[in-house]
Amino acid sequence: MAAPENLINLSLNAAAVAPEGVVLLAMLGTLIVDLAGEKAAAKWSPPISYLGLGTALILLGFQWNGPLEPSFLGSFLADNLAIAFRAVIALSTLISLLISWRYAEQSGSPVGEYAAILLAATLGAMLLCGSTDLVSVFVSLETLSVASYLLSGYMKRDARSSEAALKYLLVGSAAAAVFLYGASLLYGISGTTNLEAIGIALIDSPTPLAALALVFVLATVAFKIAAVPFHQWTPDVYEGSPTPVVAFLSVGSKAAGFALAVRILIGCFDAFDTQWKLLFTVLAVLSMTLGNVVALAQTSMKRMLAYSSIGQAGFVMIGLVCGTEDGFASMILYMAAYLFMNLGAFACIILFSIRTGSDRISDYAGLYQKDPLITLGLSLCLLSLGGIPPMIGFFGKIYLFFAGWADKQYLLVVVGLITSVISIYYYISVIKMMVVKEPQEASEVVNSYPLIQWKTIGLPPLRIALVTCVVVTAVGGILSNPLFQWANSAVAGTPLLQQVIALAGERSIG
């Protein structure tokens, strides 16, 4: 890179972050209307954030397959991979916000600031997906993390929420410090903070240093995507945080973690791909096994979904380990599918807890009598998470396993298949609880179920989100061809991935 004097005349190419700019405007807008009081915030924050996120999604659509130029002098790159992940994140925030309002209002939390912090988290996560420089990676990662800590402690009169936030903060900051130590070593060996330049410098660098930096950086990535053994925070944070925040953390934050994994491991540690693939294989096997097995024993719905999300992250890692065209495409496809099925499930359990104030699995007994919508929606989403045809999750999972098998990752695929079967068991047991129980076996909570009404402010958006997610989950599987094409063109439009795929092809021939 040239000295800064020569860079001043170069164009910033700032249009690449236009979607983030719109999200930022929405964040400022919600803060401004919040000045007018809680009533005004409850009325105006939702439309402003929908407008911002919707516009961001449209702008992302326009960027698709656009000319690729690094923007901000090499800090950011809006390739198709980044666009796909940013779209997943923006969409997950949009849906999380739709299902948040009623929850936040019913708990008496300030709504305007909630939306603003969630939008700031989105901003950080979206920028993280396209960052190609250690400094921007670090700052955007921390924006996402700090916002997440604040959100998980948002129910400030609840000891569980504060405790979850404190644990998340301490573990997260420690992970950030470890990441920084790794980053400082990378800077030391390469003399630059640009990921691509570091990757070139690492090709002929000494192994101990690179291995140490790899382990340090990988630990942070694994922390962000909650892979075993860096998962301990997940169940606690998921149980103690407000449920809509959990919905965002389990999809948006995780998608950002995977984007970071691709950027750093493939963009920077490509010279060490056998090492990181081995480590990631171990992480994936552990995540799938532990996540799905421990989920069996849970009595709280949120905790069960926490462990299930650990297992799901293990499945997605199969695609990353493959490093083939199909592998990356299946990873993106599964993230998109996971977005809808997981948020659909969260919409259902949020609605249930708004109406009953409970999230214990046993309290769902006999629910189909009282609330067919939740029963149907939750059943479909859980079946999809378990990978039952013809839901969208089935096709996503099959594609992942197919890609893994084609790349001879037999261990991963076999473990994936076995743990999928285990996961189906606990998903089905929830459905059984809701559907099969006789009316006299219904739980107390269900017996005293309130009358279903959708009039209260905040409930209509929740219904829209629920129905949308469930419909996409149910029908998306059959009509998944556009999704496949989208995922494949995301990989095709990303030079970074194409380079790796070509290299892998050469290696296997030679």
């Binding site: 890179m1 000295a3 800064p4 250690l134 400094v135 670090f138 700052v139 921390e142 700090v146 800590y149 604040l150 402690g153 400030k156 009169r157 609840d158 000891a159 569980r160 504060s162 405790e163 979850a164 936030a165 404190l166 644990k167 903060l169 301490l170 900051s173 420690a174 950030a176 410090a177 470890v178 920084l180 130590y181 980053a183 400082s184 070593l185 800077y187 030391g188 003399g191 630059t192 903070t193 301990q232 169940p235 606690d236 149980e239 103690g240």
Partner: protein, 109 residues
């Protein structure tokens, strides 16, 4: 004279100091029972990273000093993190009236 500046101390001396500080921070992170002390340990770890960055910046990147810029970002973010951490700690203290890490067990690990 200018080239000789700061070269009388080997780069490795700074790196060793940073490693030691980092490990002390890690130990404090694991063993502190007071939540405020855990936050302090994290600050120690971040300072270790900063020493690393500054040393690399001075010895290996003398004309572009990207490490110094990185350090400024780390300092900024650390300040924000500390503020948020203490806000969360205060709200937890109001609910629980303790800062003992061992008693934060409403949520099982």
């Amino acid at each position: 004279m200018l080239e000789n500046q700061s070269l009388s101390i080997p780069l490795e001396a700074y790196l060793l100091l940073a490693s030691l500080l980092f490990c002390i921070g890690v130990w404090g992170l694991i063993n502190s029972r007071n939540a405020v002390r855990v936050l302090m340990s994290i600050e120690l770890m971040l300072n270790a990273v900063n020493i690393n960055l500054m040393a690399f910046s001075a010895y290996l990147d003398g004309d572009l000093i990207r490490g110094q810029v990185f350090t400024i970002f780390v300092i900024t973010v650390a300040a924000a993190e500390a503020a948020v951490g203490l806000a969360i700690l205060l709200s937890l203290y109001r609910n629980r009236v303790t800062v003992d890490m061992e008693s934060f067990n409403l949520l099982k690990w």
